[in-house]
């Protein structure tokens, strides 16, 4: 067997083993099944959910909040990152403020978001944008810092204007960093979208989970958590695919494809 193939076989075996363990443990009485229902019952509840229009509406709400918030955060993060990164004076002045604002947990804003916007989409967006903005901004700032001084000097001596320098020198260097920021931000945005739904009660998957849990629908709660996990996996795969596509020209991607 080729190494890639045997890895896949082992991975599938691991996954099946995990599912079997979760099936057997409650059935054998190792854990009470009102706390952890067997896999088959969770799968049944999941199938029920998939048949309900309200589930798809909730999924759509979650994805909508995620996508809008992420788009705003990426646009703001890249724009501000390029600006601050390419003007050294601005960078020096804002450094400490960024260091101070970044670690503020976005959940601290939950009470404010509730007061200002209630369970409106905007309260979800406030949390999502605040959390994911920093991921993008920081990465773009690293990226701009990484610009090769020789390339910059060359561009200058060829009299490229400010915009042309940003377009042809700064941007290609910063892009891999920006995409790393995008990948991190995409995951964080999903976490915060679902958190907002769970705590504030914006319509979406998180709210469905809270409702299922308080009404004692244990298997449905687990089924929805599984959906949230699959959504997370999907977001990661999407971000990585985007990274590969946009960075196909980059030496690191080419090296990976070659070897």
């Amino acid at each position: 067997m080729s190494p890639a193939r045997s890895r896949r076989v082992l991975g599938t075996a691991g996954l099946l083993g995990f599912l079997a363990l979760l099936e057997v443990a409650p059935r054998a009485g190792l854990v009470p099944d009102r706390n952890l229902p067997p896999t088959s019952r969770i799968a049944g509840a999941l199938a029920d959910e998939l048949g309900q229009p309200s589930f798809w509406a909730a999924l759509g709400d979650t994805l909508q909040g995620w996508a809008i918030g992420l788009a705003v955060a990426v646009a703001a993060g890249v724009g501000l990152g390029l600006l601050l990164g390419s003007v050294p004076a601005l960078r020096a002045v804002t450094g400490s403020t960024i260091e101070f604002l970044r670690p503020i947990p976005s959940v601290a804003l939950i009470p404010l978001a509730v007061l200002l916007f209630g369970t409106d989409l905007r309260s979800k967006l406030l949390l999502v944008v605040y959390a994911s903005f920093w991921q993008v901004l920081i990465q773009v700032l690293y990226g701009v810092q990484d610009v090769d001084p020789v390339a910059m000097e060359t561009a200058r001596s060829y009299r490229l204007g400010r915009w042309a320098r940003i377009r042809h020198v700064v941007w290609p260097t910063a892009l891999p960093y920006a995409l790393t920021g995008f990948r991190l931000a995409a995951a964080v945005a999903l976490v915060l979208a679902i958190t907002a739904e769970l705590i504030i009660g914006n319509p979406g998957l998180g709210k469905e989970i809270a409702v299922a849990q308080t009404s004692g629908a244990v298997a449905a709660t687990y089924a929805l958590v599984v959906v949230a996990g699959l959504l997370g996996v999907g977001v990661n795969l999407l971000a990585r695919a985007l990274e590969r596509r946009l960075l196909a020209w980059h030496p690191s991607a080419r090296r990976e494809a070659g070897g």
Partner: protein
């Protein structure tokens, strides 16, 4: 010259934050808006709310739960990570499951752990552990896997085995990655500390802040937001200090490799 340089650095670091604070103070000084009270009121509320009995009853227990959960997750993550990272077969078998578990947004585990452990301290610590575990675990696996082959061979040649090998080769080599994972875990931990208390609790920082918001005690609520912000900043600063101590060898190595610039 050095005094001037230090003054310049201090000015750069403190300048904008001070300007922003002054702006906030002035702009909100006679604010009539219900939701945006004057900064003066917020600071007064801060002193009266958080520096009394609440510090002992709500703030410290929350922070203690956070640190307990973080430490447990760190221990479990590094232990499991070393095991999984040392065996290619085990790693291949665990990878899809770990990828899935990591991708579950940690806050959705709060309802699950309420089912399993009620709404007591155990639930909150469990939630924090379950969120902090994955970044540490996966980064440890990566770090252990990517250790230097020459060092590995050197250890073998010198017959360094068991505990000594673990301490001086495996954990050392993985430590930069482990620290990265722990940094991610810390920021997730703060989020989970707050959320677990907001969702179902009768005490704690998150609970108190939500109570203020529901009771429309607006300056008090703002002071809670400030406190959470400060907590985030202090923890990340403390972490950076610890990191600089633990990883000074690594930072020196990187600087030496890059050459003096």
């Amino acid at each position: 010259m050095s005094a001037a340089a230090a003054a310049r650095r201090l000015l750069l670091a403190a300048g904008l934050p001070l300007v922003l604070l002054v702006l906030w103070w002035v702009a909100s000084a006679d604010s009539q808006s219900f939701y945006l009270p004057p900064l003066r009121q917020i600071l007064e509320a801060f002193a009266s709310v958080w520096l009394g009995a609440r510090l002992v009853d709500d703030v410290l227990p929350s922070v203690a739960r956070l640190l307990t959960g973080f430490a447990l997750a760190g221990l479990a993550g590094v232990t499991l990570g070393v095991m999984v990272g040392s065996s290619p077969r085990l790693r291949a078998a665990c990878e899809p499951v770990l990828e899935f578990l990591r991708a579950i947004p940690p806050p959705v585990l709060v309802p699950i752990f309420i089912l399993v452990a009620g709404i007591g301290t155990a639930m909150k610590v469990l939630v924090i552990v379950s969120g902090c575990l994955w970044p540490v675990l996966l980064n440890t696996v990566e770090g252990v896997r990517a250790r230097d082959e020459v060092l590995e061979d050197t250890c073998r040649a010198y017959g360094i085995r068991g505990q000594a090998r673990l301490r001086h080769l495996v954990l050392r080599a993985a430590s930069p990655q482990i620290v990265t994972g722990m940094r991610q875990a810390l920021s997730i931990g703060i989020i989970l500390m707050v959320i677990s208390e907001m969702f179902a609790a009768s005490s704690g920082l998150g609970f108190t802040i939500v109570q203020f918001q529901r009771g429309f005690a607006i300056p008090e609520m703002w002071s809670g937001i400030l406190l959470l912000g400060l907590l985030g900043v202090v923890l990340s600063f403390g972490f950076r200090l610890a990191e600089n101590r633990v990883l000074s060898w690594y930072q020196g190595l990187r600087q030496a490799q890059r050459g003096p610039s």
